[in-house]
């Protein structure tokens, strides 16, 4: 077998894809199949990332037809980082979901359990395919795969509220994709190619490029739920089953975000001087403020976390003007990607904790959570660590990211953003403390109803949760390695490419 | 040349009018039928644009299958509506059939 890195790129997609097929075909063996695929994929991705750090970016020409005719898969720092992120969170969620969906003898739950695995493997495959793709139309197909599996996973919980949320999600996802596709058509009209590297090499500031950028960005920020197009996200993320919520918040929204970053850094870069980056940044500010304020008012834990996602997504767009001012200066990109990484890990941990709480207490209203520290210490600790990262207190992944964001904003003279980032952290502290404050409340030792309801959280659920939460802290000491990976051949145009 | 363009214009106008009617018709059944008609018109347009593969796909999948899906959905919704007016309970979802029990 060749040791060549490029050789293995399609395998990263094929493994979860085949797992999805097999999990569908053999429902009884779905979990072992998925777990095996998860282990193989994670291992492969991590190895690939390490190899890329040592050997540089890798390109696989699918079918032997290189671009422009064929489709290339490209692994570089930006995609590598997201692949690794997906692998880490994917592995944790695979284990967690086995506990969460444990059917017992309930047939409805059995149905959910059976269908979770193929859908989740499809989702994973589509994320990997998305991150690796270097072709704008191929990206459309992966976006649809991602959207369909995400919608189906959302709907898995089956209640009317969640079906409505899934329906809304489907509409947004589909119309977003169509906007994206229209943008792709415009790109093809102008440049006659679909390969990102060829497009960026040919790219020039024309009305068509502008229209394409507007269409594509609109479509993608719909899917990424950037304020004010976030309306669909909180009901979907809050009402889905907890492992699904974690997937949606941590990974799925990052798929479209990744394309935004990639395209703006490569293809739309000639438009960096227009007002567009500023607009995205302002929307980001709106998201941070609005999402945080909403999170402060939610009665339920999962809704709170979902609105926190709305807020945190804002940060990922804040630095767009700096990011695009000069793409050689990678500090803003590093800050944004660190934030993506930090948010994904912390948010997954938060949703998984919320899932454990729901599982144990059958209730996630904030009023039911007093004394949680005593009832579910491990879960509370996990949530607290995730919360620390969301607030961005040191030492945490969130801090690492926000520190870089602040540094980038400050050295570039964006004082407004400095205050938004710091203020946003304080707002996050307020809503996180709505959960953690009452958690330390003394619970009556005997007889109180709230105490007697607490049940044991199985280890398959608490271990992945805690692992992710710890990771949210530990990452703060791994910043250098993350950035080393990110620096691999990004952006393509500048460092090699075709 | 002019003749072709004239045909094109007529085709496009019919297409657009059909689309508008399909999207705004008060009766959804009518809307669906108009949509199917739109699909067929579009595939006609694509034959005209020398895209026979696309035209076939559009006629079979875009108009035919999508249309069948839409009509059958409309029918099931009608049935559900009737059921709703006659009895209040939604269709049994929680009670599994014996077959399913065996499968699980």
């Amino acid at each position: 077998m060749p040791q060549d890195l490029a050789f293995w790129l399609p395998v990263v997609i094929a493994v979860p894809l085949m797992a999805a097929v097999l999990a569908f075909l053999l429902p009884r063996a779905a979990f072992p199949i998925s777990l095996g695929a998860a282990l193989i994929t994670s291992g492969l991705v991590c190895w690939a990332a390490l190899a890329a750090v040592n050997a540089g970016p890798a390109t696989h020409t699918v079918g032997g037809w290189s671009a422009p005719l064929g489709i290339d898969l490209v692994l570089d720092g930006l995609s590598g980082l997201l692949l690794v992120l997906t692998a880490i969170i994917g592995l944790a969620i695979t284990v967690y979901a086995h506990g969460y969906f444990q059917p017992g003898d309930d047939l409805v739950k059995q149905h959910q359990y059976n269908f979770f695995w193929p859908l989740w493997m499809f989702l994973w495959a589509s994320l990997n395919a998305l991150f690796l793709s270097a072709d704008v139309f191929n990206l459309y197909v992966t976006l649809e795969l991602l959207g369909f599996s995400a919608v189906a996973l959302t709907a898995l919980a089956g209640k009317p509220t969640v079906l409505k949320a899934a329906m809304r999600y489907l509409m947004v996802s589909l119309s977003g994709s169509l906007f994206y596709l229209m943008g792709v058509v415009f790109l093809y009209a102008q440049f006659g190619t679909l390969d990102i590297r060829l497009l960026s090499a040919a790219s020039a500031e024309t009305p068509t490029l502008l229209a394409s950028a507007a269409l594509i960005t609109t479509g993608l920020i719909m899917k990424s739920a950037l304020f004010p197009l976030h309306f669909w996200l909180p009901p979907a993320h809050a009402n889905a089953a907890a492992p699904v919520s974690a997937l949606l918040s941590a990974l799925v929204v990052k798929g479209s975000l990744y394309i935004v970053l990639r395209l703006w850094l490569e293809v739309f870069y000639p438009l960096a001087d227009t007002v567009a980056p500023q607009v995205l940044s302002v929307l980001g500010v709106g998201a941070v403020l609005w999402g945080s304020l909403q999170a402060m008012q939610q009665p339920r834990l999962k809704l709170l976390i979902a609105y926190s996602t709305v807020a945190q997504l804002g940060y990922m767009f804040l630095l767009m003007p700096i990011l695009l001012k000069n793409r050689d200066d990678s500090t803003a990109l590093a800050a944004t990607m660190s934030f993506v990484f930090a948010h994904a890990v912390a948010k997954a941990a938060a949703f998984l904790s919320a899932g454990s709480i729901l599982h144990a207490l059958k209730d996630d209203r904030l009023t039911a959570l007093s004394g949680l520290m005593k009832k579910m210490p491990v879960t509370t600790a996990a949530f607290a660590m995730a919360g620390i990262s969301l607030i961005a207190l040191p030492p945490s992944a969130g801090f690492l990211a926000k520190y870089q964001m602040l540094q980038s904003a400050l050295t570039n003279g964006y004082w407004g953003l400095v205050f938004v980032v710091i203020g946003g952290g304080l707002l996050a502290a307020v809503y996180i403390m709505r959960v953690l404050g009452p958690a330390f409340k003394k619970v009556e030792p005997y007889g109180a109803e709230s105490t007697s309801k607490a049940v044991h959280v199985p280890l398959v659920m608490s271990i992945p949760t805690l692992a992710l939460a710890l990771l949210a802290i530990v990452i703060s000491f791994m910043g250098v390695y993350l950035l080393e990976l990110l620096a691999v051949g990004t952006p393509w145009v500048l460092k090699g490419g075709l | 040349m002019n003749l072709i363009l004239t045909v094109d214009v007529i085709l496009v106008v019919i297409m657009l009018v059909t689309a508008w009617l399909a999207l705004t018709a008060r009766d959804l059944q009518r809307a669906v039928i108009l949509f199917i008609a739109l699909g067929l018109l579009v595939s006609l347009a694509w034959v005209r644009l020398q895209a026979p593969d696309v035209a076939m796909a559009e006629a079979a999948v875009g108009a035919g299958l999508t249309g069948a899906l839409l009509i059958s959905t409309l029918n099931s919704m009608r049935e559900l509506q009737k059921k709703k007016t006659s009895e209040v309970t939604p269709p049994a979802d929680a009670s599994p059939t014996p077959q399913e029990a065996n499968h699980a």
Partner: protein
Amino acid sequence: MTWENSLPLLIVLTSLVPGVVIFFLKESTVGVRTTLNMFGAVAKLVLIAVMINGLLNETTYETRLPFLPGIDFVLRADTLSILFCILSAVLWLVTTIYAIGYLEHSPNRSRFFGFFSLCVSSTMGIALAGNLMTFLIFYELLTICTYPLVVHKGDEKALRGGRTYLIYTLVGGGALLLAVIWMYAIAGPIEFRDGGAIDAIVEGARGPLTVIYFLFIAAFGVKSAIVPLHGWLPRAMVAPAPVSALLHAVAVVKAGAFGIVRVTYDLFGIDVANDLGVLTPLMIATSLTIIVGSVLAIFQDDIKKRLAYSTVSQVSYIALGVALFGPLGSIGGIMHLVHQGVMKITLFFGAGSFDETLGVTKISQMDGIGRRMPLTMAAFTVGALGMIGVPPTAGFITKWFLGTGAIEANSHWVIGVLILSSLLNAGYFLPILYRAWFKPQKGDWPSEHDFGGRFETFWMLLLPPVVTGVFSILLGLFANLPVGLLYWVRLIVLREYEL
């Protein structure tokens, strides 16, 4: 990793690791928990002793890990950090003993001691931090770890107090974050250095540097409770007594004060700070705090609240010493870092023991307490006299150096502040002493608790205040010994002033 490279990290880990392990222990495993705590505390002291020895022989102890490009995670031992380390380590040991006694049979002890250890680890990290980033990390970690301690009782009042505490400290943390990043942005990846990391003020940087300095002071001012940022401190008094003791003497308040010292001497450098003209405003703010804190203390009947306002006043002596430009004032300020810690912890231990043994929480209940608990009260008295500055206690030394420092710095009005403050201190401490020793007991104690044994209270509640009380006197009496505190502080000050 060599020994020199890992020692600073080990000092942090000696409390961090036991802390983390303790979280996973069952409530009932008192023995293991106590052993772990004690082992950690003693190991830490031994390591610090090794380090002192090494420092005297000019060895460099530095742990350096990559954090972000250009910024490392640095723990480094220098004379100033050692001072804070040894204070924290000794008082941690004492407080742990006290806490074990104090919390016997109360719930959630594993959690308590876990966070307690994490708290001390953060303090160690703050002490040893070699640059702003490392300092910031541990400073915020301290905020996080103290919160569960503040709300330990878990009732409404405790939660409210905790909330207030968090609001103040997080906003302060935001200011600190901004200051740190701004500093890095204009000065590059600088690290703490004796005499200051900034050699000279570049043209145009004067304005930003001044703003940054005040941001630092505001941030540290929250934790060190400089008026008007002191609001959280009295409200955080809901915490159990050992926590208050630790908060006031070692961890939170002291971390703020230490931050001011560190930033002024080792980041800006005292000359640069003086050049910026930021010392006078600091002097005014601290003087104001000293007076206001004392005045507010007089009106408190709750013992712990009075002590809390006393802390507000006393901690500002440290910053005042910093603000007095000149070696003598600096010596006074830095010495008070230690003195205030030892004396204040004695007072809190005393207050806690009164509460735990007799249910006495108010000053009006203290009549005749000296006869019931003579040893505890004696320690309390030493602490109180020290706060007033009566010779030969440690407090006298501080005030002496501050006074001479004020003359040296030509800020004669500060002497007035010192005198006024001493009078006020006397005004709120002497009545307590009078009641305790000279007034007869009024009826029964509110809720007397019989611990059995030969002593006036449980020995674990008695030993710590007595020990720290004795320290308070010893520090005063033997200040000038060759390896005494004064010697060490002189060493620090000589380096800071590059004399």
